[in-house]
């Protein structure tokens, strides 16, 4: 594996984990968001060598065997998903946010997800879903 291979390419091409999306390749859309050691990072701006010794969580990794993650359930229940392209990044950013702030206000949710762009929904239902997901998690 070339040490300069982008992490997003490792995930999508080498590991067939296509949940992580490439929207821009320049760090400006958040579609490629993953968790590295629990913190949100942009996989389009990371290189393979940087993963040494780190744990990576992609969208494929947050559901349990028999159930969606509470946030995923909330996204579905609240109609927060349209085309779905931004959603893996949104959900993982929300996971990071709720780990740090389990009871965020709507404004704090917007700020926490400010690195994830959505062209479909207008964000309202995404914020509703994260608010509901936070309650579910508790």
């Amino acid at each position: 594996m070339p040490s300069d291979r982008r992490v997003i390419d490792i995930l999508r091409e080498d590991l067939n984990l296509t949940g992580t999306k490439e929207g821009c390749g320049a760090g400006e859309c958040g579609g490629c968001t993953i968790l590295v050691d629990g913190e949100s990072r942009l996989s389009c701006l990371m290189l393979a060598a940087q993963l040494e010794g780190r744990s990576v969580t992609t969208i494929e990794g947050i559901a349990s065997e028999d159930r969606l993650h509470p946030l995923q359930e909330a996204f579905v229940e609240h109609g927060a998903v349209q085309c779905g392209f931004c959603i893996p990044g949104m959900v993982l950013s929300a996971v990071d946010l709720l780990q740090r702030n389990p009871n965020p206000t709507r404004m704090e949710i917007r700020q926490g997800l400010s690195g994830n762009l959505c062209r479909c929904t207008g964000y309202q239902k995404i914020v509703d879903a994260v608010k509901a997901g936070a309650l579910k998690i508790k």
Partner: protein
């Protein structure tokens, strides 16, 4: 294929830089990796600083604070020394990029990329920060405003890195201000920005002021004329409008894909007037 090297100590780093003098050095990669993908740079070797713990962290030395260059913006935003001493910097870092970008990007990287639009720079200019530059055998300190020479240009020599930033605590400044204008509220490269530190008497008369504008010149713009115009006065609309005119003469904006020079010039002045109505927040 490019080599990517991750030294864990500064000893390893000097060895790597000696062996690979053409290497491009990065920490978070939020600027370099974009340029790499665009084909604007093509180094044969990349050196990532993210594992060098001694380049991270914040330390207090009496009236000065040393900020490790590889401290991420997120780390600094959570750091009580930074939050309590440098609210003008905290305010800017809150608006920089986005949450994942702040988890990856570092203050040293923001400085060394030396974009005129860098959000940490106007606050660091009003704080009169100095960079510490290290190589295998040397260490020097230099005023940030001299370190940055032009868009994307710094005084770094081969074999050198910025190891950290020295910032003096600024007691006596009781008002701070930072605002950036961009095409959206996050993930926005600044079109114009303003950092300010002021000292007002109990009666509200300005005794000292420092300002720095971002994205409206080849480097950060400062203006003694604007600062003098405020000293001895209260912040009133007429005074700020006068300062705004002086600001518009001081800046040197260009047209680019984000905004026209004319717009930027106008906004550089308007940002001064907003000192009146926007939060002129109190430093402790």
């Amino acid at each position: 294929m490019r080599k990517v090297l991750l030294p864990h100590t500064s000893e390893e780093l000097w060895e790597v830089l000696r062996a690979e003098p053409q290497a491009a050095v990065y920490a978070g990669g939020t600027d370099l990796l974009v340029k790499l993908r665009q084909g604007l740079v093509d180094p044969s070797c990349l050196v990532c600083l993210e594992r060098i713990e001694e380049l991270k962290g914040v330390q207090e030395f009496g009236h000065e604070v040393f900020i490790g260059a590889c401290s991420t913006h997120a780390y600094l935003l959570a750091n009580p020394i930074i939050r309590s001493n440098f609210p003008v910097l905290t305010k800017a870092l809150e608006l920089l990029g986005s949450p994942p970008i702040r988890n990856m990007g570092t203050i040293g990287g923001n400085i060394c990329t030396a974009s005129p639009a860098a959000d940490s720079l106007p606050p660091l200019y009003v704080l009169e920060a100095e960079v510490e530059i290290r190589s295998k055998n040397t260490s020097r300190r230099m005023a940030l405003k001299e370190f940055i020479q032009g868009p994307g240009k710094t005084s770094l020599q081969p074999g050198e890195i910025v190891s950290g930033i020295w910032v003096k605590k600024a007691p006596g400044y009781n008002l701070y201000h930072f605002e950036k204008v961009g095409q959206r509220k996050a993930l926005a490269i600044s079109i114009a920005s303003l950092a300010g530190l002021l000292r007002a008497s109990e009666k509200g008369v300005i005794e000292e002021a420092r300002f720095a504008w971002g994205s409206v010149g080849p480097t950060i713009i400062t203006s003694p004329e604007v600062e003098k115009a405020l000293v001895g006065n209260r912040l009133s609309r007429p005074i700020l409008e006068k300062a705004a005119c002086l600001a518009r003469s001081a800046v040197e904006p260009i047209d680019d894909i984000r905004a026209s020079g004319e717009y930027r010039r106008l906004v550089s002045g308007n940002l001064m007037v907003r000192l009146l109505t926007l939060q002129r927040e109190v430093c402790h």
